[in-house]
Amino acid sequence: MADARRKLDIAAEAGPVGGALAHDSAAKHVAGEAVYIDDIAAPDGLLHAYLGLSTVAHGRLLSLDLAAVRAAPGVVGVLTAADVPGVNDISSTHRQDEPLFATDRILFHGQPLFAVVAGTREQARHAATLAKAEYAEEAPLIDIAAARAAGGALVTDPLKLERGDIAAALAASPRRLKGSMAIGGQEHFYLESQVALAVPGEDEDMQVFVSTQHPSEVQHMVGAVLGAGSHAVTVEVRRMGGGFGGKETQANLFACVAALAARKLKRPVKLRPDRDDDMAITGKRHDFVCDYEVGFDEDGSIHAVDALYAARCGWNADLSGPVTDRALFHMDNCYFYPAVRARSEPLFTNTCSNTAFRGFGGPQGMVGAERFIEEVAFATGLDPLEVRKRNLYGGNSSTEGLGRDLTPYYQQVEDNIAGHVISELERRCDYQARRAAIREANAKSPVIKRGIALTPVKFGISFTATWFNQAGALVHVYKDGTVALNHGGTEMGQGLYIKVAQVVAQAFGLGLDAVKITATTTGKVPNTSATAASSGSDLNGMAALDACETIKRRLTEFAAKHWQERPEDIAFLPGRVRVGAREIAFRELIQAAYMARIQLSATGFYTTPKIHWDRKAGRGHPFYYFAYGAAAAEVAIDTLTGEYKVERVDILHDCGQSLNPAIDRGQIEGGFVQGMGWLTTEELVWDRKGRLWTRAPSTYKIPVASDRPRIFNVHLLENAPNREPTIHRSKAVGEPPLMLAISVLHALSDAVASVGDYRVCPRLDAPATPERVLDAVERVRAEAAS
């Protein structure tokens, strides 16, 4: 009888995992009751800090007269580097290249020089403008060209990936071409700006509420700046109003200054910069210049690729090392290069320190890959989609003894479904017929030209810094059978909390209402990694499940003893626990276990298996698996003005066995539109003095509702469980969809190419603003005529 019962397919019974459940905070979001850092009830005696910023981009700080600042109404304190009891450095790399407050060298326009603390925010803001600083100004290096011209100083060690003999392979290629592509940066514009609230406690204790994706790093930084151990600092964040990578390291400054002020004045202190200051101070997506040479043949097969990816990194290293590494890890996208060399050039510039942004360099690497494809397509006269398919990983033909499944970093692509995703989308969106119709229509339409492109995505999942691939969780079951869940991941809107709660509820057979999701805090789960690299649910879901399994093991052992059954005959089913032939409520089991003195709380831990990476050798298996997707975009451009519309987008995206298809769909749609903004309208402009001009959405054009694709068909790839045993066979989804927007750039390019009868490669740089599109139209026309 027991055996027969075990045949019941427990997994098939309905549970929260895989359900399209609402975001855990949805009701609070719509009621306006979700508490963000700036909404936390002000503690008694709250003071407000504001930053004083450098007004030159490069030079020496000769003197800093703060008398007027100190004398301003309401001011209770002024902080400079001299007030830092610990180290005046917040470099996440520990390279000591990021002073909290500048002391001597000024390295970018907007560098923090001091902070002023006052009774109200207005007083602090006003006082901050009263400083008198004298500088010995030097010429700033603003962009990649200037940085190179000045000798090309790097902020961090570059990476080289090399497989095969690139010189020989290029020489032996039937055809070869060279080119260069500029790829723009991007402002995060998280709707909730940076903000921190520090509350001093007894001894050296400091509690910091901060909008951060990386509480453990903030904890470490605050400790170091205050000269206190990490154990004195507690960092908490319940939710962010958006992060997108912009709060991975960039929150450290605000948290440390608030904590420093709170320590010095022994009062709670809040620091929230104005939006324009936030935009000037904090780093953005790196802009790149990719110089490339491609060897190929008449059939459109790529023989060799040699690419140099130079990035504007800004005034310190920050995350530029791993970001530029990830660009190289994605310079292949879905394509096999028989011989390849890829190099990064992480350049120092006198601009804000560029940082993590959804995709973390991967998008820039991939934009390069799709340019290589496009070049080959125009050179051979083939449809770019045909060239894409021809060069996909896979097949068994070997070159130099290697299969067609080896990446430039020697990881074998074992889970390749790019070909399937592409052909499935091609069929579903009727690509071929539409492409033919567009070409026909273009021939008859003198001004409005349409374009279409279908591009794939293959994105590597795992932190390339292998040690970050760990996570912890804490699960308490209370006597009444309710569960409190805590893990190291942070919620920035992506739905991590609900996904992990689904995992926990399912593990115990409970409804979601029995699981309380608690704010991320370093006091509960220590030494966590940033919620980044799309890894949030993979890591924290597994860690939470591990904790649940520990508790379930104890409960199972107890129940078997208590009710005299075999452990195999205890099962946690939806809404009940089966103990031999009887079924009891979870709560009943918990109460009995408590009386028997069974521990009902556990920590969980997870480390991603299989991964390793030797950066020096450029070899390894840095990614646990890949997430795939494809998008087809159709656009219409006005060839007289360069203006355009995205008419239709079709997406097929791989989320593995989705933990929550509604949340995943939201990530796909939102990521796509954000990527589209990056590649089309979002253009950052610095002047020659190093001042950022685009400091508000009035000058920096973020997509609004009218910019979204007119027709937007989004589907999750069906029946595609992750081949690796990830949490319920799901796949990470935070970043990969952003790169689906590369299809828009190529659809624009296709439309531009029509004016040259598809013979001239438009070489459209990103962002493809209307100005750039117009420029490309004129260039292609002229070249086609000559």
């Binding site: 979001h29 719509v30 009621a31 009751e33 709707l191 992506q494 939201g666 509702a705």
Partner: protein, 161 residues
Amino acid sequence: MAKLPVQFRLNGSDRAGFVDPAGNLLDLLRRGLGDFAPKYGCGQGTCGVCTVLIDGEPQLSCLTLAISCEGRQIETASGMADGPNLHPLQQAFMDNFAAQCGFCTPGMLTAARALLAKNPNPTRDEVVEAISGNICRCTGYEPIIAAILAAAAGGAGMRRA
């Protein structure tokens, strides 16, 4: 600077506060009156997260002088629900996954509420137009548009003006 008194109705209740002559309504609502539904996003009238209704019209509270609100009717997202019952727009936003980080949501709801009060059966283009001053960095807008259309179809515009 001398503070000036100001009185208005906020979500149906009489409220009063003292403000700087140059103080904006957003600060008064949030810090003076404890209504945290309207958010600070840019302070420059470019993002829409601070949108409130003033005498039924959607306005950016970060650009509105608090003192100019004397005697007006102000409504924010926190006053939309009828006790425990969500406003149909709020319910539709939940049902359509129209909030991810949720930071733009109170402003979006307010813009949508103003639209449906004037135009209970808007077209898709009219919905897009009505929220085009509100930035959402998370959703890509599709679920927000769907939510507003769903609420309109369910008669949100009729039920509460």
